[in-house]
Symmetry: C2
Subunit: 274 residues, 2 copies
């Protein structure tokens, strides 16, 4: 199978979409007509996927939302993942990072058992903590670089060796990317830095959360996040899409919201600024 970066580009071209939908399904926010149980969460996810899978390049599942379901969480996660067609990328957003033997188990579980196409990881523990994820070329690994939350300022901007820490992370990640399968997580809430990140890493996939509820500017996320060919930015949309309607028409409403957003993104792709 092709290295992750090549596959991502192929999928984005075939789907004509950079949109990723975050299936961060909160059991307390399900439409009232669905059962507020693990089965209800799975039903909600499946109907969202059926309604939107021709409009996206990826789905991202934040593992916190599945762990919150307790004993049934793994089952919902596994069944949801199996429902995602192979025409798009399935991302496990678990922000893992641990010493070698533990990281090995996390990687095996997400890559070999649940068969996710990509994962998110924390850089703090360094290369050997990420190696078990890197070593499968067809599996994408998105390393946290500059996150979309306020606390990003606590450490990520610290000047280390004349550069902000997040740039030091990028420099190392580029060296580690021998299998062409590593990408970066860079929040849409920091457009100036996003532009700089794309400049520093012209060929790496960027997973870009933070548009919508978190307030990031979509236009700049697309224009700064894409490579020079208008690819390799993955724009994540969460609550705006999956909760577009709180009623029985939730899947249709999500489809409309996703379609509008995909088209808006494609409009911005046509006028790159760099």
């Amino acid at each position: 199978m092709a290295p992750f970066t090549d596959r991502l580009r192929t999928i984005q071209a075939a789907q004509n979409s950079l949109l990723c939908i975050g299936l961060d399904t909160d059991i307390t926010k399900l439409p009232p007509h669905l059962s507020h149980t693990s089965e209800g969460v799975l039903e909600f996810n499946k109907r969202l996927i059926d309604a939107t899978c021709d409009l996206v390049c990826a789905y991202k599942l934040n593992l916190a939302f599945y762990e919150a379901l307790g004993e049934r969480g793994w089952w919902v996660l596994n069944e949801t993942r199996k429902h995602i067609p192979s025409s798009v990328i399935a991302i496990a957003d678990g922000k893992r990072g641990d010493i070698g033997n533990s990281s090995d188990l996390y990687a095996r579980s997400l890559i070999n058992e649940l068969r996710f196409d990509a994962s998110t990881v924390h850089p703090y523990m360094g290369r050997d903590s990420l190696e078990p994820f890197f070593r499968t070329p067809e599996h994408g690994v998105f390393v946290l670089v500059l996150t979309s939350n306020p606390g990003a300022r606590d450490f990520q901007y610290l000047k280390a060796g004349g550069k902000p820490l997040y740039e030091q992370v990028i420099l190392r990640v580029k060296r580690w990317n021998t299998h062409r399968n590593i990408g970066l997580v860079a929040g849409a809430t920091r457009p100036a830095q996003l532009k700089r990140i794309r400049l520093l890493a012209p060929h790496l996939p960027l997973l870009i959360p933070g548009v919508g509820a978190q307030g990031g500017d979509l236009k700049r996320a697309v224009q700064y996040g894409c490579d020079t060919h208008g690819f390799l930015a993955i724009i994540n949309a969460g609550r705006n899409v999956i909760y577009a309607s709180a009623g029985e028409d939730f899947a249709g409403a999500a489809r409309s919201a996703a379609q509008a957003m995909r088209d808006q993104i494609n409009g911005y792709r046509d006028s790159p600024t760099h």
Copy 2:
């Protein structure tokens, strides 16, 4: 209930032990007479806890080993945790770290559902990513500072504002510690730095992995890791104890190994160097 730091001190005094056993149970390493299933892992854990719970101040469960069990992982984790008596601390070693609403779910799951007494977290995403863990005073939060793996050198030693990054993490963590429930993870494989960390944070609990299989020096881990009263260092022992014997006598052998290690630690506590 008392803030975590006070409770830890009380428990370490009552148990006369700084030893923590890492219940990182690998299903492939179970003794041959136990069933190599989730039930077997739980049986192994319960018998280890029964055999050692008067000798330790804590058990640490690395969540990777439970996630590796798939659908039954949560059940084994939950049942194991319930088997840990309230006379000792149960630590969920999941190295979490995510934006606010996701971190909230992780914290709720580990604190309110599984009822762990403490968790480990990644600092990279900053304060708001950790706040959901900090806000429960009786819950301990161990922030990764200087880890025991080789990759610690990639970022943790980077000079940022005249100090290594890990010291910058300590400075902030001390400011955030308004509930007296935050501690640090500092590997025994870096004794000189461990000494410095205790100097910078004289009153914080230190969770110290890396003795045993990873090669850290026990004597220095204890002497540098303890506070001036000989408390607040939690010395984690993993494979050396839980796999002390591969046979039917595994629990008895683990007890002997734990007892020897507890006594050795207590011997070193009596001769602090600072």
